[in-house]
Structures are given as structure tokens and as C-alpha cells.
């Protein structure tokens, strides 16, 4: 986790330095704010990863001498196939189209989003196949 943390930290600190230089040199607030926000986007994940790095033992994927046997067990639960991402995508598409063609498509779109999001959540809680 150390390298992951340092990648984000490095980007955050670098952009923070650029922000300070830009702010005092250009004296332009819009660009400085965007750069400051970008520095935050680097530093926030860095804080999260750094917090976990201190509290975790090195994982097998962080250890150069680790063997496959050291990480035996379930990697995770992966759905094989499910219709709900497709339904959710179509719902988002119809909802977005309402910005162009009026609210009628949003009625169907939002209904599909609610149905698909609820069903996908229940599906993952059940843990069963689709």
C-alpha cells in the first residue's frame, strides 16, 4: 500500500506547489482554485491510503517474496451475468434525454433507474446468481 499512497501523495504535493507558484505569480483566482481542487483530489486519496498503510500488515501483493499459496481463499464475489447494469444504463439514457426532449422520457428513465438500482442491491445482498 506504500507505493499507492506515495503515488497520490506525490501528485497532490506537486500540484499544491504549482498552485502556490501560480497564485502568487499570476494573481488569478479561477485557475488557482482549480489547481487547489486538483491538489485536494491527490491528497484526499493519499490520506485514505496512508491511514490504511499504517494499520495494515503488508499484503501478499506488496511482498516481493510472496507465493501464490499465501493468499489462498476467496478473492471476492463476482457476478457472472446480470441484466441490471443494462437496465440502469438505459434508465440513465432516457433520463438524460429528457434534458433535450422534455420530461416524458424521464418518467420511464427514473423508474428504470430505481428498479435496477434496487434490484442490483438486493441481488448482491442475496449473493445468488441471476
Amino acid at each position: 500500500m506504500k507505493v499507492e499512497y506515495r503515488v497520490y501523495l506525490g501528485i497532490g504535493i506537486f500540484v499544491l506547489i504549482v498552485t502556490v507558484v501560480y497564485f502568487f505569480w499570476a494573481k488569478e483566482y479561477g485557475g488557482a482554485m482549480m489547481l487547489f481542487g486538483t491538489a485536494g483530489l491527490g491528497l484526499l486519496p493519499a490520506l485514505y491510503l496512508g491511514w490504511w498503510k499504517r494499520r495494515m500488515e503488508p499484503r501478499p501483493e506488496d511482498v516481493e517474496e510472496a507465493t501464490v499459496a499465501e493468499n489462498r481463499g476467496a478473492v471476492g464475489a463476482f457476478p457472472d451475468h446480470t441484466i441490471f447494469p443494462f437496465v440502469l444504463g438505459i434508465g440513465a439514457f432516457l433520463t438524460a434525454l429528457s434534458l433535450v426532449f422534455g420530461p416524458s422520457t424521464a418518467v420511464i428513465g427514473l423508474a428504470l433507474i430505481v428498479f435496477a438500482a434496487t434490484s442490483a442491491t438486493l441481488e448482491s445482498r442475496r449473493g445468488g446468481t441471476v
Partner: protein, 565 residues
Amino acid sequence: MTIAEERSELAHEPEADAQHGPTGIYKWLTSTDHKVIGKNYMYTSLVFLMIAGAMAMIIRAQLVQPNGHIVSQQMYNELFTIHGSMMLYLFAGPFAFGGFANFILPLQIGAPDMAFPRLNALSYWLYLTGGTTMLMGFFVNGGAAAFGWVSYAPLSSYTYSPGPGPDLWIVAIILTGFSGIFTAVNLVTTAFYLRAPGMTMFRMPIFTWNMVVTGILILIAFPILTAAMVMLYADRHLGTHFFTVAGGGSPVMWQNLFWFFGHPEVYILALPYFGIASEIFPVFAKKPIFGYKGLVFATLAIAGLSTGVWAHHMYTTGTVLLPFFAALSLLIAVPTGIKVFTWIGTLWGGNLQFRVPLLFALGFLVTFTMGGFSGVMLASPPFDFAVHDTYFVVAHFHQVLAGTAIFAGFAGFYYWYPKLTGRMMREGLGKLQFWIAFIAFNMTFIPQYLAGLRGMPRRIPVYLVSDHVTFLNQVSSVGAFLTGFSFLIWLLNLWISWRRPIPAGDNPWDGHTLEWATSSPPPHHNFTSLPPIRSQRPVWDKNHPEYADYTTDHDGTPKKEVEPR
């Protein structure tokens, strides 16, 4: 739902991917397998490439003669807008970042799938519907968006661009933007949390590293684009005045927001293709990559610097700090140069095998370097003032972006096609496609540099005989038509491979990285066994123990990684 057993070292009979779960259209609609989604992305984005390429052919046909009349001026504006938007938002990024990354990244790190398979599937559907939305613009009253892929204010306001076409364009960008953000979250999380034991960050293949950095850049840049699109929509329909002077807004603010996304976007498009080339050069030079860590840090440096150069697209507005942006823009040439030298270093002294993937990768190297040099020229404000908004800029970004996406993209396609399908493509047709594409591509864009230096502005549907750019445009158009023809050869190659398959085997190129440790195509959840991961080239180590990148104990146990020879 499958609980993936952790990376068994025991070999089983591979369960063919096609035999698992539903088949046909229902498989396509419901699959959450990263391999299926990756292929969906790849083939969809190639269809978008063909559509955008057809638009380019019409544009070049219009410019063959002075005062061309192939299409109306309004249609010309719509064509170059949607051509640019499709190439950038729907082909170049999704082909590599949605297609190759989805298929290859989990395989390269020994993972059974992406970290969030449902989110991955949703990303694809948002991408497909976003692309469809963009094309719908041609079928509504007033036509498609016609303000260029950068949609500058106030041209993109409702006053100057009325009708539903521009709104469809905005909605399309928002949908594909969310698709990109979801894919980025997925790829970064997968690379951070699903690596196989022993696959440390500094053993990840360069392709995977580049995808991680691209993912981080997407998470920085795409939310700003989405926010800017919402503001633009609000200006058009909700009475706000973010970008209209009359209401106290600022059109230049649009440029700042757009390019704060737009310049990292250039590297979001380029870095994945750099990763593809970085995989191909060592395999076909029979050497390890030269300067692995240098490449990784150069990629990170490019990512960091790319966030601070947005206003080099805005020199001529007169509102930006020229020395700051010129300095940072020139600085980007340093890590980019490191990459080019690293690739040359990898090839240097290698046992080069000029197969089709290497030819396309070399084509990328040449066109990208050429386009990169003109980019360094454009980073200088006095030069940019002279050629801003001319065909010089068009030639520059086509060489850098289209050259990268097409040559490195086809390099990757030929390289990984055996893994995707278990089949080989025909070598002779591939070489023919490469040579026609390489000559024709440069024939298209080198004359455009010269036309730009003679003052030919971009985005114009007509020019005069007295502009002295007729011959240059004719050469450029012939080059464009030949480039289009080269894609037909690729389609023929694909068709022959489909009708008369040549089995590829698991590792036809003697590849180095983990995707070549599994069957072609890979089984459900990717691996039935994994080799020990003791270096950046675990499959090479396994297949060539006498040249392995690590030392062993007297009993043959892997002991310590050594500097690559």
C-alpha cells in the same frame, strides 16, 4: 455469482469462456466479465472510428478543390464537430481505456475480474448510449452540434447554436463522462487491490502502470468537464450567465474550464497507447524494457505537469500568464523525451522481429515524435501567435493524437488479438495495411503543416485559388483517402481471420507478462494456474529459466530479483 477461488497453482482443464453462462445477445446484454466488456468497448469504438473516419473523408473531399461544394457550410461545421468529438470522446479514449484496459489489465496483474463488475458493465452502457446520443443530432431539426469539439462560448450559446442538436451533444458528453469516471474508479481500484501475490507495484507491467496513471488523470479532469457541461446547459436553458458577457459572465471562463479538462485529456488519450507500445517493444526486441522505473516516473511526471498547462491553448486570448504556461508546457517535453529514449533504448541492440505489432509500434514512435516536436514549437507563445487556429495546429494534434491512437492502437490490436480470440491475423495483410497507412497518414498531415504556415485557417469549408494551398490540400486529401483504404484491408484481415481461423496458441509472441500465462481466449475468471511472480517478466522467467530476471537458491527456489540484462 461466483466466489473466485484464489489463483490456484494446480492446473485444470481450462473452461472456455464461451461455454460459461448465457450465450448470444443475452450474454452481450448481461455479462459482467471484463473480457466481454473489453471486447464490447473495442468493437464499439472501432465502429465509431469508422463513422468518424467517413466524416473525415467527406471533409477532405470538400477541400480537394477551392470553393468546394460537396456539402453545405452548415453540414461541414457539423461534420468536423462530430468527427472531432467522436474521435476524442468515443474512439481514442474508450478504445484503449475501455477496451484494452478492461481486457488486459486484470490479466496482467493476475486478477479474476475487475473490482466492480456491475459498475464496469454500467460504464459500457453509458458509453454506448452516449455515443448514440451524439449521432442522434444528425436526425433532429437544425442538425447536430456545429461549434467544434471544444464548444467555445458564446458560439455554443442558444443564440448562436439553437435547436436540440447541441443539447444532444452536451448530454452525450455527460453520459460518456460518467462512463469514463466509473471505468477509472474500477481500473485504479483493481490495480491497487486485486494484484496477485508477488505482483508488487514496481513489478506491474508498464501498460498497467499507464492505465493507473490515466485513471487518476480521468478522476481529476472528467468531473470538471461534466460540471462545465452542466453550466453550459444551464446557460442555454435555465437563464444563467456563466459564459455570457451580457449577464456578467465570461466566455474565457469556458475556455479555462474546458482546457483544464482538455489538456489532461490529451494525456488521457496518449498514455494508454504509450503503455501499449511499452509492452510491444521489449517482446519483439527479445529484451526487458530499458529503464522501467524511468518510464513509470516519466508517466507520473507527465500526469502532474499536464494539470498545469491548460492555458497554452489560450495564449491568444491575452488573459493568461504566458511565461508560466510556456515553461510548464516545455517541461512536459522532458518526461516525454525520457519515454522516447527509453523505447529506443529497448530496441537498441535487440533481436528485432519485424512482425506487424512492432511495425505499427514503430509507426507510432515516428509519427508521435514528429507531432511532439511541433508541439514543442507551439508551446512557445510567439510561434503560437503566428499559427494559432491554422492547419499547423490541425496537423500537430492529428500526428500526436490520431497517429498515436491509430498506430499504437492497431499495434495493440494485432498484438493482443490472439489473446482476445485464440486466432492469428494474417501477417501479409497486416504489413500491407501498415505500409499504406504509414505513408498515407503522413501524406495527409505533413502538407497540412505547410498549409498552416501559409496561413490557411482551420474549420473553413472553402479556400481561394489565390491562397496557394490547393496542391497541398489535394495531396492531403489523397493521403486521407488512402488512409481510409488501409482500414478496409484491416477489415478484410479480420474477416479472413473469422472465416478461416489460424489457431494462435497461448503465447504466440513469446510474451513476457501474465496475460500470456493463460489460455487464448482466457477461461472464466482468467487463470487456472499462475507462475511465480519474481520479476517484471514472470512468463519470460518461466519459459526461459536460463535467462530469468532473478537468481535462485541451489534448489531452484526463486531468491532475488536482478537487474535486467
